[in-house]
């Protein structure tokens, strides 16, 4: 069974441990600005929403890449950016409608959530269980996927 990140915004307190863990995992520094998961803080409602790539079925990023730099990892299902192949053209950053693959000027490449080879640092770091890494089936109500499907209905049908 493929696992995926399951996000329950109601449990999020906005402590930003996930952003710290993500930047440390990938860059060895505690710097939320480098994090691939981002917590949106809505002051009006008090709601905090951790947000990152859902490894969506449509994988617009992967399909738009002109040089085959994004591939789907067979064991985790994550779309992976191969930095050695990426030319930094940024086409994936406008193709992904979720804004979850972004250009990093320092490296001249793009970055996105890669599920940390199957043990996501954000989920490990989250003290409240707002981010968990569980069987994909149980995350079926994921709102982001619903919105992916909504966009997909307008733009595409896919083969699988």
């Amino acid at each position: 069974m493929m696992k995926s990140l399951h996000i329950e915004a109601a449990k999020c307190t906005g402590c930003l441990q996930c952003e710290m863990a993500c930047s440390f995992e990938n860059y060895g520094v505690f710097n939320p600005a480098k994090s691939r998961i981002k917590v949106f803080d809505f002051h009006e409602t008090g709601l905090k929403v951790p947000y990152t790539c859902t490894q969506c079925a449509e994988a617009w990023c992967l399909k738009a890449c002109p040089v085959d730099a994004i591939t789907k990892d067979k064991s985790t299902g994550a779309m992976m950016v191969n930095e050695a192949t990426c030319v930094g053209c940024k086409v994936c950053t406008i193709a992904c409608p979720f804004g979850t693959i972004n250009y990093v000027a320092d490296t001249g490449k793009v970055q996105k959530c890669d599920l940390c080879e199957g043990s996501p640092a954000c989920a490990d770091a989250c003290p409240t269980g707002a981010i968990t890494y569980i069987d994909a089936d149980s995350t079926g109500i994921d709102r982001m996927r619903t919105w992916a499907a909504k966009l997909e209905n307008q733009t595409a049908g896919h083969a699988d």
């Binding site: 809505f42 930094g88 049908g157």
Partner: protein, 413 residues
């Protein structure tokens, strides 16, 4: 079922792979006129900069990928289609039968009617062959004139400079990338370009090119002469459809397709740079010659060829450009719509620009310079027609809250 795809660029390759996933048993044949493995034109600037070799431009990197997918690659140029007999004629006189046909033959550079445009030393930057010619001619110290500062022109500029050339860019329009970026944003790109030592002439036309003892001499509309070793013509491209004359397939500027990417002829589809289709949100017909749209179209066309109905809501303009490190994007109706609200933050000092265009409480267009975080949500907000509700007023005050608006209206509802 025999599927024949004419053109092995991104659209052709994505269509072939989508077909393979949808119909495991069908025959799939991918025809390409150029003597290279399927490659990506848009990787050419990185090839010219020396960041990658030719193989870095290939659309698929795994050895044996197409064989493994049982996609037959064939070298040859289609020259005619007999839609009654369902047969395509190739340049070697042979014929290929099909049950479903996809035309994904892309575009070709326009050749402006200027005396001297065919002189040696005047080149386009469109194919791998062009790239080799440019690489051989543009050496450190070479003087290069580039005609055209549209999207493609602006993309290749940096590669020319990276090769050590001294570059002059001549654009007919009053600003750089006039069909992609609004004036404030365009001015920032120009400033950045000039800061890198490129001479930029706008509202200027090259009226003639002549050979001299040492190279080429271009004359502008105002009578100024410019000397160079190389002139690169980047004055636009148009769908490569002349060869379809007499086929009965309906064309205007491009091949006319409906929302399923079907042409007027049963069993014949078209996708990518060669098509003219309805624009998302306006209903106007446009040729939307960009990579992400080419592959979206290819996917939908292939689904329909496979007998699985799918449709595209329309071609959405979307571009991303890197001008000497300054990243700009534009989406949809970035010029705005009549009666719609607009917010524009134009900060040349910080080299940041952000402009949003609304129709009621829908985002219909966006453009930015110097923003790279989460720009993709511009696409989602526009294409999913997400009602912004109270977020519209918040965005009018602070447009940088765009990603928050998207998350709020979709995840936190």
């Amino acid at each position: 079922m025999r599927h024949l795809i004419i053109g092995n660029g991104p659209a052709g390759v994505v269509a072939a792979e989508t077909l393979r996933a949808a119909c495991p048993l069908d025959d799939i044949r991918l025809l390409g006129a150029e003597p290279e493995p399927p490659y990506s034109r848009m990787a050419i600037p990185y090839l010219l900069e020396g960041q990658i070799g030719e193989s870095g431009t290939y659309l698929r990197k795994a050895p044996g990928h197409f064989e493994a997918q049982r996609i037959a690659l064939q070298h040859g140029r289609a020259t005619a289609i007999d839609t009654a007999a369902r047969s395509v004629t190739l340049d070697d006189g042979s014929h290929l039968p099909y049950d479903r046909l996809l035309i994904a033959c892309g575009s070709i550079p326009a050749s402006p009617p200027i005396p001297g445009i065919h002189l040696p030393g005047v080149m386009t930057c469109w194919t791998m062959e062009d790239a080799r010619r440019i690489a051989a001619a543009v050496k450190p110290g070479a003087r290069v004139i580039q005609m055209g500062a549209g999207f493609i022109g602006c993309i290749i500029m940096e590669a020319i400079v990276a090769r050590g050339a001294s570059l002059t860019v001549v654009e007919m329009g009053e600003r750089m990338v006039p069909r992609m970026m609004p004036p404030g944003a365009s001015a920032m790109l120009r400033a950045r370009t000039e800061a890198r030592g490129v001479r930029v002439l706008t509202s200027t036309r090259i009226t003639g090119i002549a050979a001299t003892a040492t190279g080429l001499r271009a004359t502008t509309g105002s009578g100024e002469t410019l000397d160079a070793e190389v002139i690169i013509s980047a004055t636009g491209v148009r769908p490569d459809i002349a060869w379809l004359a007499g086929s009965g397939i309906e064309t205007a500027i491009g091949i006319l397709v409906d929302h399923r990417l079907a042409t007027n002829i049963d069993g014949v589809y078209a996708a990518g740079d060669c098509v003219e289709s309805e624009e998302f949100g306006t209903g106007h017909r446009i040729v939307n010659a960009v990579q992400p749209d080419a592959v979206d179209q290819a996917r939908i066309a292939a689904m329909n060829m496979a007998g699985r109905p799918a449709h595209l809501s329309g071609a959405l303009q979307m571009n991303v450009l890197d001008t000497f490190g300054l990243v700009s994007v534009s989406f949809g109706q970035w010029q705005g719509v009549a009666g719609g609200a607009r917010v524009e933050v134009d900060d040349p000092g910080a080299q940041r620009y952000l402009r949003l265009e609304f129709d009621g409480d829908l985002l219909v267009g966006a453009s930015s310079v110097g923003h790279t975080e989460g720009v993709g949500v511009m696409r989602a907000l526009i294409q999913s027609r997400i009602h912004l509700g109270p977020w519209k007023d918040r965005l009018l005050t602070d447009p940088t809250q765009l990603a928050a608006a998207y998350v709020a209206r979709t995840q936190a509802a």
